[in-house]
């Protein structure tokens, strides 16, 4: 049985249908990449999955916990790195402060940020901020993670440090849904890829199937990354 499933999801904004019957599922331990042109509805899928947006029709079958990593991090600027990570586990999940502190320290170490725990977000680079926000999501022990273009707000030369962290999570069989414009990353890390265009899932399958597809729109889209 799938861990997460969306069935026939529809969504309109101001009369304009931006999701037109979206169905897909994610198995436990699987990495799903969602690709497609800007405005095709990728973020809306994640926002509906994570409850930030309501759906007009369809069903979501999932009774686990999740985390969401935003494109622009959305770290809390008035909290230290440590507090950004520990506050929700302590205040929301009511977990033991010491236990959470240890978890946070381990996560920061894993992210290569052990010396940043007392810093504030404004003192970090974009890549560091995004790694903290991944640690913040992971500290909640989620069953799965959603990423909305986690490297799009970063300078090209530092996207690697964030992609590496996500790749490590994939190796540990973290269930993940990742919206991305990094085609090589999608190819290498994803078990399954969905190509969205204009509110529809136009193509889906393994990386080989999707990147080898004859679909015209898919080819046009991939053509933009061929340089």
């Amino acid at each position: 049985m799938s861990l997460f499933e969306m069935k026939n999801i529809k969504k309109s904004f101001d009369g304009k249908e931006v999701l037109k019957d979206i169905s897909f599922s994610v198995e436990k331990g699987q990495v799903l990449a969602i690709i497609g042109p800007s405005g095709s509805g990728k973020s809306t899928i994640l926002r509906i999955a994570t409850g930030l947006e309501t759906k007009d029709a369809g069903d979501i079958l999932f009774d686990g916990t999740f985390g969401l990593v935003f494109q622009d991090f959305n770290l809390f600027p008035h909290h230290s790195v440590m507090k950004n990570i520990t506050n929700a586990p302590v205040k929301v999940q009511k977990r033991d402060k010491k236990e959470v502190n240890n978890v946070a320290k381990d996560l920061l170490k894993k992210m290569g940020l052990e010396d940043k725990e007392n810093n504030y977000p404004s003192q970090l680079s974009g890549g560091e901020k995004q790694r903290v926000s991944i640690a913040r999501a992971l500290a909640m022990n989620p069953d799965m993670l959603f990423f909305d273009e986690p490297t799009s707000a970063l300078d090209p030369e530092i996207t690697g440090e964030v992609l590496k962290v996500i790749q490590d999570l994939a190796k540990e069989h973290m269930t993940m849904v990742i919206v991305t414009h990094e085609m090589n990353f999608a190819k290498n890390v994803a078990d399954h890829i969905i190509f969205m265009d204009d509110g529809y899932i136009v193509e889906e399958g393994t990386p080989e199937e999707v990147f080898g597809s004859d679909n015209q729109r898919m080819k046009e889209f991939l053509g933009k990354f061929q340089d």
Binding site: L52, D72, N74, F76, P77, A88, K91, V92, Y120, M140
Partner: protein
Amino acid sequence: MYLFSTMISELSFGLITSIEIFLLTILFSMPLGLAVALGRMSKIRPIQWIMKAYISIMRGTPLMLQLIVIFFAPYYVFGIGLSSDYRMIAVILAFSINYAAYFAEIYRGGFESIPKGQTEAAQVLGYSKFQTFYMIRLPQMFKIVLPSITNELITLVKDTSLSFVIAIPEMFTVAKQIAAADSSIMALLVAGVFYYIFNIIVAWFMEYVEKRMDYY
């Protein structure tokens, strides 16, 4: 002829009353302003309208007029005799509800300039609405609005002098009395110096608070 030292001592007593009005107004108007701001941003339309009207009236009519109305209302409307204790109560009440309206609009601007992603991140992390409010939005709002709060406090120092219209013995009232009795402008000049020093201290304190908040 007034002795200079007598004048200073009388003005100092007046200054203490001015400071009292200043501090009590802050104490009541800042939390009240927050309540008004929340009402103004409420999803419940009638509450929104009431707060909008409240803010509009408080900001659209003279504070001095509000002060006089609040002071005389019990007598003219209800025929209640005016006790001398009520003078001070009327002043604090008038200043507090007036300044609450200004603070409410400042707070609202502060809340609205917090990026939406902050609330969304909190929501996804499971923060309740109330936790999101006091752990995420409120502290960020206060930092954003500090410079505007400083402006209001400096205005408030000067506005305390409006209390002369209902004969509260604060510094300006006292200064006017001395000036009249003494046929000299000296007391008013000294009062001016006192107000100025008062405001320098307020500005200095707020600068200190802003520095303390500058860790992020």
